[in-house]
Amino acid sequence: MVTHTEDAGLHIRAVFEDAEYWRTKRLEPVMFQLLRKGRITFHDLMHDPPEIAPVLQDPSKQPSIEDSVEMLELNLGKYINGIEIAAQVARDAYFIDEQRKDAGIYDPELKIVHRTFDITSTESEQLSAVERMLEDYYDVLQVYLNALIVRGFILRDKLKEMLEAPIPPKFENGAKIVARAWTDEKFKQSLLEDAKQTLREIGIAVYRSPKLVVLENTDDVHNVIVCTLCSCYPYAVLGNPPWWYKDDSYKQAIVSDPRKTLKEMFNFSIPESREIKVYDSTSDLRYFVLPRLPAKGKMLKEEDLWKLVTPESLIGVGEPRSEIKD
Protein backbone atom coordinates (compact mmCIF):
# COMPACT_ATOMS: atom_id res chain seq x y z
CA MET A 1 0.00 0.00 0.00
CA VAL A 2 1.20 3.44 -0.92
CA THR A 3 1.28 6.05 1.79
CA HIS A 4 1.85 9.75 1.53
CA THR A 5 5.24 10.34 0.07
CA GLU A 6 7.22 12.64 -2.14
CA ASP A 7 8.36 9.78 -4.37
CA ALA A 8 7.67 10.56 -8.06
CA GLY A 9 6.89 6.93 -8.94
CA LEU A 10 4.20 6.79 -6.31
CA HIS A 11 2.69 10.02 -7.55
CA ILE A 12 2.51 8.55 -11.04
CA ARG A 13 0.85 5.47 -9.56
CA ALA A 14 -1.66 7.71 -7.78
CA VAL A 15 -2.54 9.47 -11.06
CA PHE A 16 -3.01 6.09 -12.71
CA GLU A 17 -5.30 4.82 -9.94
CA ASP A 18 -7.34 8.03 -9.91
CA ALA A 19 -7.78 8.01 -13.67
CA GLU A 20 -8.94 4.39 -13.52
CA TYR A 21 -11.35 5.19 -10.72
CA TRP A 22 -12.91 8.11 -12.60
CA ARG A 23 -13.16 6.17 -15.84
CA THR A 24 -14.66 2.99 -14.39
CA LYS A 25 -16.86 4.48 -11.67
CA ARG A 26 -17.86 7.92 -12.82
CA LEU A 27 -17.64 8.17 -16.59
CA GLU A 28 -18.25 4.85 -18.32
CA PRO A 29 -21.18 3.70 -16.17
CA VAL A 30 -23.03 6.94 -16.99
CA MET A 31 -22.19 6.61 -20.68
CA PHE A 32 -23.55 3.02 -20.62
CA GLN A 33 -26.75 4.21 -19.04
CA LEU A 34 -27.32 7.06 -21.50
CA LEU A 35 -26.61 4.68 -24.39
CA ARG A 36 -29.07 2.11 -23.04
CA LYS A 37 -31.73 4.73 -22.64
CA GLY A 38 -31.16 6.13 -26.11
CA ARG A 39 -30.24 9.56 -24.78
CA ILE A 40 -27.01 9.33 -26.75
CA THR A 41 -26.16 6.84 -29.49
CA PHE A 42 -23.06 4.94 -30.51
CA HIS A 43 -23.13 6.98 -33.69
CA ASP A 44 -22.85 10.18 -31.65
CA LEU A 45 -19.59 8.80 -30.29
CA MET A 46 -18.14 8.05 -33.73
CA HIS A 47 -16.35 11.34 -34.08
CA ASP A 48 -12.79 12.52 -34.06
CA PRO A 49 -12.18 13.96 -30.61
CA PRO A 50 -13.30 17.59 -30.81
CA GLU A 51 -11.55 20.25 -28.77
CA ILE A 52 -14.12 21.22 -26.23
CA ALA A 53 -12.28 20.83 -22.95
CA PRO A 54 -8.93 22.59 -22.30
CA VAL A 55 -6.07 20.74 -24.00
CA LEU A 56 -3.73 18.52 -22.02
CA GLN A 57 -0.10 19.63 -21.69
CA ASP A 58 2.77 17.39 -22.66
CA PRO A 59 4.47 16.36 -19.41
CA SER A 60 7.52 14.90 -21.14
CA LYS A 61 8.85 18.34 -22.04
CA GLN A 62 9.52 19.35 -18.45
CA PRO A 63 12.95 20.08 -16.94
CA SER A 64 12.63 17.51 -14.13
CA ILE A 65 10.61 14.40 -13.30
CA GLU A 66 8.90 16.32 -10.49
CA ASP A 67 7.74 18.97 -12.95
CA SER A 68 6.58 16.26 -15.33
CA VAL A 69 4.59 14.60 -12.57
CA GLU A 70 3.02 17.91 -11.64
CA MET A 71 1.97 18.40 -15.25
CA LEU A 72 0.52 14.89 -15.30
CA GLU A 73 -1.45 15.69 -12.15
CA LEU A 74 -2.80 18.85 -13.78
CA ASN A 75 -3.90 16.77 -16.78
CA LEU A 76 -5.64 14.34 -14.45
CA GLY A 77 -7.38 17.32 -12.85
CA LYS A 78 -8.71 18.37 -16.26
CA TYR A 79 -9.98 14.84 -16.89
CA ILE A 80 -11.74 14.67 -13.53
CA ASN A 81 -13.15 18.16 -13.91
CA GLY A 82 -14.54 17.25 -17.34
CA ILE A 83 -16.21 14.13 -15.92
CA GLU A 84 -17.74 16.10 -13.06
CA ILE A 85 -19.08 18.72 -15.44
CA ALA A 86 -20.45 16.06 -17.80
CA ALA A 87 -22.25 14.51 -14.82
CA GLN A 88 -23.72 17.86 -13.90
CA VAL A 89 -24.87 18.49 -17.47
CA ALA A 90 -26.53 15.08 -17.88
CA ARG A 91 -27.83 14.92 -14.31
CA ASP A 92 -31.49 14.76 -15.22
CA ALA A 93 -30.99 11.90 -17.66
CA TYR A 94 -29.54 9.20 -15.42
CA PHE A 95 -29.98 7.63 -12.02
CA ILE A 96 -27.12 7.36 -9.59
CA ASP A 97 -28.29 4.01 -8.35
CA GLU A 98 -28.15 2.58 -11.86
CA GLN A 99 -24.75 4.12 -12.25
CA ARG A 100 -23.64 2.18 -9.18
CA LYS A 101 -25.05 -1.01 -10.66
CA ASP A 102 -23.26 -0.40 -13.93
CA ALA A 103 -20.06 0.29 -12.05
CA GLY A 104 -20.34 -3.12 -10.38
CA ILE A 105 -20.72 -1.77 -6.86
CA TYR A 106 -23.46 -4.26 -6.03
CA ASP A 107 -22.31 -7.13 -8.20
CA PRO A 108 -18.60 -7.82 -8.69
CA GLU A 109 -19.46 -9.64 -11.93
CA LEU A 110 -20.40 -6.29 -13.43
CA LYS A 111 -17.22 -4.49 -12.45
CA ILE A 112 -15.52 -2.72 -15.33
CA VAL A 113 -12.06 -4.17 -15.74
CA HIS A 114 -9.28 -2.08 -14.27
CA ARG A 115 -5.98 -1.87 -16.04
CA THR A 116 -2.97 -2.89 -14.02
CA PHE A 117 -0.10 -0.58 -13.30
CA ASP A 118 3.29 -1.64 -14.61
CA ILE A 119 5.59 -1.25 -11.64
CA THR A 120 8.53 -2.96 -13.31
CA SER A 121 9.31 -0.17 -15.76
CA THR A 122 11.30 2.99 -15.06
CA GLU A 123 9.68 6.20 -13.82
CA SER A 124 9.94 7.93 -17.18
CA GLU A 125 8.39 4.91 -18.92
CA GLN A 126 5.60 4.88 -16.34
CA LEU A 127 5.08 8.58 -16.85
CA SER A 128 4.67 8.32 -20.60
CA ALA A 129 2.46 5.22 -20.31
CA VAL A 130 0.12 6.97 -17.86
CA GLU A 131 0.14 10.10 -20.00
CA ARG A 132 -0.82 8.10 -23.11
CA MET A 133 -3.58 6.44 -21.15
CA LEU A 134 -4.86 9.82 -19.95
CA GLU A 135 -4.82 11.18 -23.51
CA ASP A 136 -6.93 8.23 -24.70
CA TYR A 137 -9.35 8.71 -21.84
CA TYR A 138 -9.52 12.41 -22.52
CA ASP A 139 -10.40 11.75 -26.16
CA VAL A 140 -13.31 9.57 -25.05
CA LEU A 141 -14.44 12.25 -22.64
CA GLN A 142 -14.34 14.90 -25.36
CA VAL A 143 -16.32 12.76 -27.79
CA TYR A 144 -18.87 12.15 -25.04
CA LEU A 145 -19.08 15.87 -24.22
CA ASN A 146 -19.67 16.49 -27.90
CA ALA A 147 -22.49 13.93 -27.88
CA LEU A 148 -24.08 15.81 -24.97
CA ILE A 149 -23.98 18.99 -27.06
CA VAL A 150 -25.35 17.24 -30.17
CA ARG A 151 -28.21 15.75 -28.12
CA GLY A 152 -29.15 19.13 -26.74
CA PHE A 153 -28.12 18.66 -23.12
CA ILE A 154 -26.22 21.93 -23.21
CA LEU A 155 -25.04 24.62 -25.60
CA ARG A 156 -21.45 24.34 -26.79
CA ASP A 157 -20.46 27.81 -25.57
CA LYS A 158 -21.96 27.25 -22.14
CA LEU A 159 -20.16 23.93 -21.78
CA LYS A 160 -16.85 25.43 -22.86
CA GLU A 161 -17.30 28.17 -20.33
CA MET A 162 -17.89 25.62 -17.57
CA LEU A 163 -14.84 23.59 -18.59
CA GLU A 164 -12.61 26.63 -18.68
CA ALA A 165 -13.65 27.91 -15.26
CA PRO A 166 -10.96 27.50 -12.58
CA ILE A 167 -10.71 23.94 -11.29
CA PRO A 168 -12.40 23.56 -7.92
CA PRO A 169 -10.85 23.16 -4.48
CA LYS A 170 -8.00 21.02 -3.32
CA PHE A 171 -7.14 19.76 0.12
CA GLU A 172 -5.30 23.04 0.85
CA ASN A 173 -8.74 24.43 1.59
CA GLY A 174 -9.05 21.92 4.41
CA ALA A 175 -5.53 22.69 5.58
CA LYS A 176 -6.42 26.36 5.94
CA ILE A 177 -9.62 25.53 7.80
CA VAL A 178 -7.63 23.36 10.21
CA ALA A 179 -4.98 26.05 10.74
CA ARG A 180 -7.66 28.56 11.57
CA ALA A 181 -9.28 26.17 14.03
CA TRP A 182 -5.88 25.73 15.71
CA THR A 183 -5.55 29.44 16.31
CA ASP A 184 -9.12 30.59 16.77
CA GLU A 185 -11.03 28.82 19.51
CA LYS A 186 -14.32 30.46 18.68
CA PHE A 187 -14.04 29.47 15.05
CA LYS A 188 -13.22 25.92 16.11
CA GLN A 189 -16.26 25.62 18.36
CA SER A 190 -18.50 26.93 15.65
CA LEU A 191 -16.89 24.55 13.13
CA LEU A 192 -17.54 21.58 15.41
CA GLU A 193 -21.13 22.65 15.94
CA ASP A 194 -22.14 23.41 12.37
CA ALA A 195 -19.34 23.03 9.89
CA LYS A 196 -21.31 23.83 6.78
CA GLN A 197 -22.69 27.10 8.05
CA THR A 198 -19.34 28.13 9.52
CA LEU A 199 -17.50 27.51 6.28
CA ARG A 200 -20.13 29.28 4.28
CA GLU A 201 -19.69 32.29 6.54
CA ILE A 202 -15.98 32.47 5.80
CA GLY A 203 -16.65 32.31 2.09
CA ILE A 204 -15.92 28.67 1.27
CA ALA A 205 -18.32 27.37 -1.38
CA VAL A 206 -20.01 24.37 0.18
CA TYR A 207 -22.94 24.30 -2.18
CA ARG A 208 -22.59 20.69 -3.22
CA SER A 209 -21.83 19.26 0.20
CA PRO A 210 -24.51 17.62 2.18
CA LYS A 211 -24.30 17.97 5.95
CA LEU A 212 -20.70 18.34 7.01
CA VAL A 213 -19.28 17.12 10.33
CA VAL A 214 -15.81 17.93 11.63
CA LEU A 215 -14.31 15.42 14.07
CA GLU A 216 -11.80 16.75 16.55
CA ASN A 217 -8.84 14.61 17.56
CA THR A 218 -7.83 14.82 21.20
CA ASP A 219 -5.16 13.22 23.33
CA ASP A 220 -7.63 10.45 24.16
CA VAL A 221 -9.46 10.01 20.87
CA HIS A 222 -8.25 9.60 17.34
CA ASN A 223 -10.78 9.80 14.49
CA VAL A 224 -10.57 8.10 11.11
CA ILE A 225 -12.99 8.39 8.19
CA VAL A 226 -13.93 5.90 5.52
CA CYS A 227 -16.79 5.27 3.16
CA THR A 228 -17.19 1.52 2.83
CA LEU A 229 -20.11 1.70 0.41
CA CYS A 230 -18.59 3.98 -2.18
CA SER A 231 -16.23 6.89 -1.73
CA CYS A 232 -18.13 9.63 0.04
CA TYR A 233 -15.78 12.42 0.91
CA PRO A 234 -16.28 16.16 1.40
CA TYR A 235 -15.36 16.79 -2.25
CA ALA A 236 -16.85 20.25 -2.39
CA VAL A 237 -14.57 21.45 0.38
CA LEU A 238 -11.47 19.28 0.09
CA GLY A 239 -11.36 18.32 -3.57
CA ASN A 240 -10.67 14.68 -4.37
CA PRO A 241 -9.42 12.19 -1.82
CA PRO A 242 -6.18 10.29 -2.31
CA TRP A 243 -6.70 7.26 -4.53
CA TRP A 244 -6.32 4.64 -1.80
CA TYR A 245 -9.31 6.17 0.00
CA LYS A 246 -11.47 4.74 -2.77
CA ASP A 247 -9.70 1.40 -2.79
CA ASP A 248 -11.19 -1.73 -1.21
CA SER A 249 -7.86 -2.55 0.41
CA TYR A 250 -8.27 0.52 2.63
CA LYS A 251 -12.03 0.38 3.14
CA GLN A 252 -12.17 -3.23 4.22
CA ALA A 253 -9.07 -3.16 6.38
CA ILE A 254 -9.92 -0.02 8.34
CA VAL A 255 -13.29 -1.33 9.51
CA SER A 256 -11.84 -4.69 10.33
CA ASP A 257 -8.84 -3.61 12.41
CA PRO A 258 -8.19 0.13 12.49
CA ARG A 259 -5.12 0.12 14.73
CA LYS A 260 -3.37 -2.56 12.73
CA THR A 261 -4.38 -0.97 9.41
CA LEU A 262 -3.01 2.43 10.39
CA LYS A 263 0.25 0.80 11.40
CA GLU A 264 0.62 -1.48 8.40
CA MET A 265 -0.69 0.72 5.60
CA PHE A 266 0.38 4.11 6.83
CA ASN A 267 3.15 3.37 9.30
CA PHE A 268 1.13 5.30 11.86
CA SER A 269 1.14 3.91 15.38
CA ILE A 270 -1.51 4.88 17.87
CA PRO A 271 -0.93 3.92 21.49
CA GLU A 272 -3.39 1.41 22.94
CA SER A 273 -4.51 4.02 25.46
CA ARG A 274 -5.87 6.26 22.72
CA GLU A 275 -9.29 5.29 21.50
CA ILE A 276 -9.84 5.03 17.75
CA LYS A 277 -13.19 6.09 16.35
CA VAL A 278 -13.92 5.07 12.78
CA TYR A 279 -16.64 7.04 10.99
CA ASP A 280 -18.21 5.30 8.01
CA SER A 281 -20.05 7.89 5.94
CA THR A 282 -22.68 5.71 4.42
CA SER A 283 -25.35 8.25 3.60
CA ASP A 284 -25.78 12.00 3.33
CA LEU A 285 -23.20 13.19 5.81
CA ARG A 286 -19.61 14.01 5.05
CA TYR A 287 -16.83 14.04 7.60
CA PHE A 288 -13.34 15.30 7.95
CA VAL A 289 -10.86 15.16 10.78
CA LEU A 290 -9.46 18.09 12.70
CA PRO A 291 -6.02 16.81 13.72
CA ARG A 292 -4.09 17.92 16.79
CA LEU A 293 -1.63 20.79 16.47
CA PRO A 294 1.90 19.31 16.51
CA ALA A 295 4.04 20.45 19.46
CA LYS A 296 6.45 22.43 17.30
CA GLY A 297 3.54 24.11 15.54
CA LYS A 298 3.15 26.49 18.46
CA MET A 299 6.38 28.15 17.39
CA LEU A 300 5.19 28.80 13.84
CA LYS A 301 3.64 31.90 12.43
CA GLU A 302 -0.10 31.65 12.07
CA GLU A 303 -0.06 32.04 8.28
CA ASP A 304 2.35 29.10 7.95
CA LEU A 305 0.49 26.61 10.10
CA TRP A 306 -1.57 25.20 7.24
CA LYS A 307 1.60 23.87 5.64
CA LEU A 308 1.77 21.25 8.39
CA VAL A 309 -1.53 19.72 7.34
CA THR A 310 -1.45 16.72 4.98
CA PRO A 311 -4.38 15.15 3.10
CA GLU A 312 -3.79 12.05 5.25
CA SER A 313 -4.26 13.98 8.47
CA LEU A 314 -7.70 15.18 7.31
CA ILE A 315 -8.75 11.56 6.85
CA GLY A 316 -7.12 10.44 10.08
CA VAL A 317 -4.54 8.05 8.70
CA GLY A 318 -1.66 10.24 9.77
CA GLU A 319 -0.70 13.19 11.93
CA PRO A 320 0.17 16.60 10.49
CA ARG A 321 3.85 17.16 9.70
CA SER A 322 5.91 18.04 12.75
CA GLU A 323 7.60 20.85 10.83
CA ILE A 324 7.25 22.59 7.50
CA LYS A 325 9.03 20.87 4.66
CA ASP A 326 10.90 23.00 2.15
Binding site: R91, P210, V255, S256, R259, D280, S281, D284, L285
Partner: protein
Protein backbone atom coordinates in the same frame (compact mmCIF):
# COMPACT_ATOMS: atom_id res chain seq x y z
CA UNK B 1 -35.28 18.27 13.97
CA UNK B 2 -38.67 16.88 14.78
CA UNK B 3 -39.99 14.81 17.66
CA UNK B 4 -41.28 12.14 15.36
CA UNK B 5 -38.15 10.00 15.42
CA UNK B 6 -38.58 6.42 16.47
CA UNK B 7 -35.29 6.16 18.35
CA UNK B 8 -33.47 8.49 20.69
CA UNK B 9 -29.93 9.02 21.84
CA UNK B 10 -28.59 6.05 23.83
CA UNK B 11 -31.34 3.68 22.65
CA UNK B 12 -30.18 0.16 21.85
CA UNK B 13 -30.94 -0.86 18.29
CA UNK B 14 -30.18 -3.71 15.99
CA UNK B 15 -29.45 -3.38 12.28
CA UNK B 16 -31.69 -5.54 10.12
CA UNK B 17 -30.11 -8.22 7.97
CA UNK B 18 -32.05 -6.99 4.99
CA UNK B 19 -34.68 -4.38 4.33
CA UNK B 20 -36.26 -4.72 0.90
CA UNK B 21 -38.88 -2.08 1.69
CA UNK B 22 -36.37 0.62 2.53
CA UNK B 23 -35.90 3.42 0.01
CA UNK B 24 -32.17 2.78 0.25
CA UNK B 25 -30.32 -0.49 -0.15
CA UNK B 26 -27.21 1.17 1.15
CA UNK B 27 -26.23 -0.40 4.43
CA UNK B 28 -22.78 -1.90 4.90
CA UNK B 29 -22.62 -5.68 5.24
CA UNK B 30 -20.37 -5.65 8.30
CA UNK B 31 -22.99 -4.03 10.55
CA UNK B 32 -26.00 -6.04 9.41
CA UNK B 33 -27.49 -7.99 12.32
CA UNK B 34 -25.32 -6.06 14.79
CA UNK B 35 -26.47 -4.31 17.93
CA UNK B 36 -25.46 -0.71 18.49
CA UNK B 37 -26.40 2.46 20.32
CA UNK B 38 -27.99 5.58 18.89
CA UNK B 39 -25.32 8.28 19.04
CA UNK B 40 -27.05 11.07 17.14
CA UNK B 41 -30.23 11.78 15.26
CA UNK B 42 -29.87 13.83 12.13
CA UNK B 43 -33.43 13.94 10.91
CA UNK B 44 -34.26 13.62 7.26
CA UNK B 45 -31.31 14.94 5.37
CA UNK B 46 -32.02 15.59 1.78
CA UNK B 47 -30.11 18.72 1.17
CA UNK B 48 -32.14 21.10 -0.98
CA UNK B 49 -28.90 22.12 -2.66
CA UNK B 50 -27.81 18.56 -3.12
CA UNK B 51 -30.12 16.52 -5.26
CA UNK B 52 -27.29 14.73 -6.97
CA UNK B 53 -27.58 11.38 -5.29
CA UNK B 54 -31.25 11.05 -4.53
CA UNK B 55 -34.12 13.45 -4.74
CA UNK B 56 -36.48 11.88 -2.26
CA UNK B 57 -35.78 11.32 1.40
CA UNK B 58 -34.29 8.02 2.45
CA UNK B 59 -36.01 8.45 5.79
CA UNK B 60 -34.69 9.66 9.13
CA UNK B 61 -30.96 9.22 9.56
CA UNK B 62 -29.12 8.23 12.73
CA UNK B 63 -25.52 7.87 13.68
CA UNK B 64 -25.14 4.49 15.35
CA UNK B 65 -22.12 3.56 17.40
CA UNK B 66 -20.85 -0.01 17.47
CA UNK B 67 -18.32 -1.35 19.85
CA UNK B 68 -15.37 -3.21 18.44
CA UNK B 69 -16.03 -6.16 20.75
CA UNK B 70 -19.58 -6.45 19.43
CA UNK B 71 -18.50 -6.35 15.80
CA UNK B 72 -15.53 -8.65 16.23
CA UNK B 73 -16.25 -11.01 19.06
CA UNK B 74 -12.97 -12.85 18.62
CA UNK B 75 -10.87 -9.74 19.19
CA UNK B 76 -11.62 -8.15 22.54
CA UNK B 77 -9.72 -5.47 24.42
CA UNK B 78 -9.37 -3.07 21.55
CA UNK B 79 -10.20 0.51 22.25
CA UNK B 80 -12.10 1.19 19.05
CA UNK B 81 -15.57 2.30 18.13
CA UNK B 82 -17.33 2.46 14.80
CA UNK B 83 -19.81 5.18 13.88
CA UNK B 84 -22.05 4.35 10.98
CA UNK B 85 -24.84 6.52 9.54
CA UNK B 86 -27.96 4.40 9.14
CA UNK B 87 -31.54 5.07 8.13
CA UNK B 88 -34.45 4.35 10.45
CA UNK B 89 -35.96 1.73 8.16
CA UNK B 90 -32.87 -0.43 8.69
CA UNK B 91 -33.09 -0.30 12.49
CA UNK B 92 -35.16 -2.20 15.02
CA UNK B 93 -35.35 -1.86 18.81
CA UNK B 94 -33.04 -4.18 20.71
Amino acid sequence: MTDSEKFHKNDSVRVKQDCPTSPTKRTPQYVRGMAGIVDAYYGEVVDPEFNYDHRVSWGPLYRIVFDWSELYKDRKNQKSKFYVDLHESWLEPF
